[in-house]
């Protein structure tokens, strides 16, 4: 089941990104409309001491709200949550956030796998996981976990990634549904909820304008 988007609306989007993330996120997130109907949760690898500058930077460029996730905060629609530096970010069954200081997972804290695995538990088939540019293999196991629960796996086309290690690793590890060039990911997400946004009574099956590379793609 590749290249298929289910009729059932997805309830949340998780994004994992490492090296090259600043550019990738500022390309994708401005496409999301202000009333984007689901929460978007992002792990961007960054230095242990970095502050919330990154969230503010993105907030200025986006219609959706962008902020660092706070512990016990409920994941709300129309909002992009960034994992705070030096903490793992997890989702609870009641769709609130938890932070932990568990050891780094394969050198990363926050870890993409930790977020993805916990979000897969919570949202099951209602989750979209996206792995973007990066120089390690974080996110691969998380994407496998998302697929295992019936969610949708999207990976940035490695040819459009600043650093292609992470998307390539994800493609090797998981049965990916969509491989999209960086420029197509924002419109992909925005289109996915277009019917819902226009409150159309009949939910239109999703059609992408941009060329999709099928997930048979393997290096």
């Amino acid at each position: 089941m590749t290249g298929q988007v289910k009729r059932a609306p997805y309830e949340a989007v998780v994004i994992g990104v490492s090296a090259g993330g600043m550019n990738a996120l500022r390309t994708i997130l401005p496409h999301l409309p202000e009333k984007f109907p689901v929460p978007v949760v992002v792990v961007q690898h960054r230095g242990a001491e970095s502050d919330d500058f990154f969230a503010q930077y993105l907030a200025q460029r986006c219609a959706v709200q962008v902020k660092e996730a706070e512990e016990k905060e409920a994941a709300a629609p129309g909002t992009v949550y960034l994992a705070p530096a030096n903490y793992h970010l997890l989702l609870e069954d009641d769709r609130t956030f938890s932070l932990t200081l568990e050891s780094r997972v394969r050198f990363a804290r926050p870890s993409i796998d930790v977020l993805f695995e916990s979000a897969a538990d919570v949202y099951g088939a209602g989750l979209i996981g996206i792995v973007l540019t990066g120089a390690n293999d974080d996110g691969s196991r998380g994407l496998v976990a998302i697929k295992k629960r019936g969610g949708l796996a999207v990976v940035q086309d490695p040819a459009t990634a600043e650093v292609d290690t992470m998307p390539k690793a994800a493609l090797q590890a998981a049965e990916v549904d969509f491989v999209l060039p960086l420029a197509a990911i924002g419109p992909f997400l925005a289109n996915l909820y277009q019917a819902e946004l226009s409150s159309s009574p009949d939910f239109m099956p999703f059609r992408v304008q941009t060329k999709l590379i099928p997930s048979e793609y393997k290096e």
Partner: protein, 280 residues
């Protein structure tokens, strides 16, 4: 690839509930109000490395095998810390809070969840440099005996010292950090006199009650592992442990705000998570 269904998840949740109940009834350690996402992660990790088929089997094992329980206990307690962690906040404590603490003739400090002790010694050093240590008593508590033993020893790995030193300097340290330890091969041993005002004690924040009437409660990066109800109970404990006008210092991502106890505290420095108890 077998898909995991919502049904599987429901069963796992139930097994975890029973496992936590079993651990509490059998050994008295209460993890029932910990964050489930965190527990699930740690327990699955143990499941995979112990070659057990499921959480149900883990419950059986933990009830019959104390050493396995101790293993789980270690899995479930996170002891990540460093000296002068978040140095900017130590600077704030040094410049803004210490002067207020000085108004009491004798200062008692409760460091709840002290883990391996790095931040307790950081506080002792800070108080020493501000001329207050001689009038202080620090109670440093944790439920993890292994961590507590390490805290009492005050011996840390040499490769952490560069980080500790950098933090110390950023935190407004007035001396040379190397004055506080002796190096021994690949370890640093903190000077014994730093311990004279510290009492390390086994205390479980979840099951044990108020500790002592203190002027300052330090509890950093402990509450993040608790659910909202337990957090609320702990805030109540802290409130009762603090003397009127006493201070509460939380971790940099923890906050009193969503708590009903919040009305009894004034936010002294919001970004630094330092609160002052009311005077009643």
């Amino acid at each position: 690839m077998t898909n995991t269904t919502d049904d599987d998840k429901e069963v796992e949740n139930l097994e975890i509930t029973l496992l936590l109940e079993g651990m509490f009834k059998r050994y008295g350690y209460d993890f029932r109000d910990y964050s489930l996402a965190h527990l699930r992660r740690r327990l699955r990790h143990r499941l995979n490395s112990s070659a057990l088929p499921d959480m149900g089997a883990m419950l059986h094992r933990v009830l019959h095998d104390r050493s396995f329980f101790e293993l789980l206990l270690r899995d479930l307690s996170i002891n990540v810390t460093e000296m002068f962690r978040d140095p900017d906040i130590y600077l704030q404590i040094r410049t803004e809070v210490v002067s207020r603490l000085k108004t009491w003739p004798f200062v008692k400090i409760w460091h709840a969840g002290c883990a391996t002790g790095e931040e307790v010694y950081s506080m002792a050093i800070l108080l020493h440099e501000e001329g207050l240590l001689g009038r202080c008593q620090i109670y440093a508590t944790d439920f993890n005996q292994i961590a507590l033993k390490k805290a009492k020893e005050g011996i840390y790995s040499l490769d952490q010292v560069r980080q500790f030193t950098a933090n110390y300097q950023k935190s407004g340290g007035r001396e040379s950090f190397s004055d506080y330890y002796t190096a021994d091969n690949d370890a640093v041993i903190l000077k014994n006199w730093l311990k004279t005002r510290i009492v390390f004690a086994d205390h479980n924040l979840v099951t044990d009650s108020v500790f002592s009437e203190v002027q300052l409660v330090v509890c950093r990066n402990v509450l993040i592992y608790f659910n909202r109800e337990l957090q609320e109970r702990i805030f109540q404990t802290f409130y009762e442990s603090l003397c009127p006008g006493g201070f509460l210092w939380l971790g940099s991502k923890e906050s009193l705000r969503p708590s009903a106890m919040g009305e009894h505290f004034e936010t002294l420095f919001s970004t630094e998570k330092i609160y002052k108890r009311d005077l009643q």
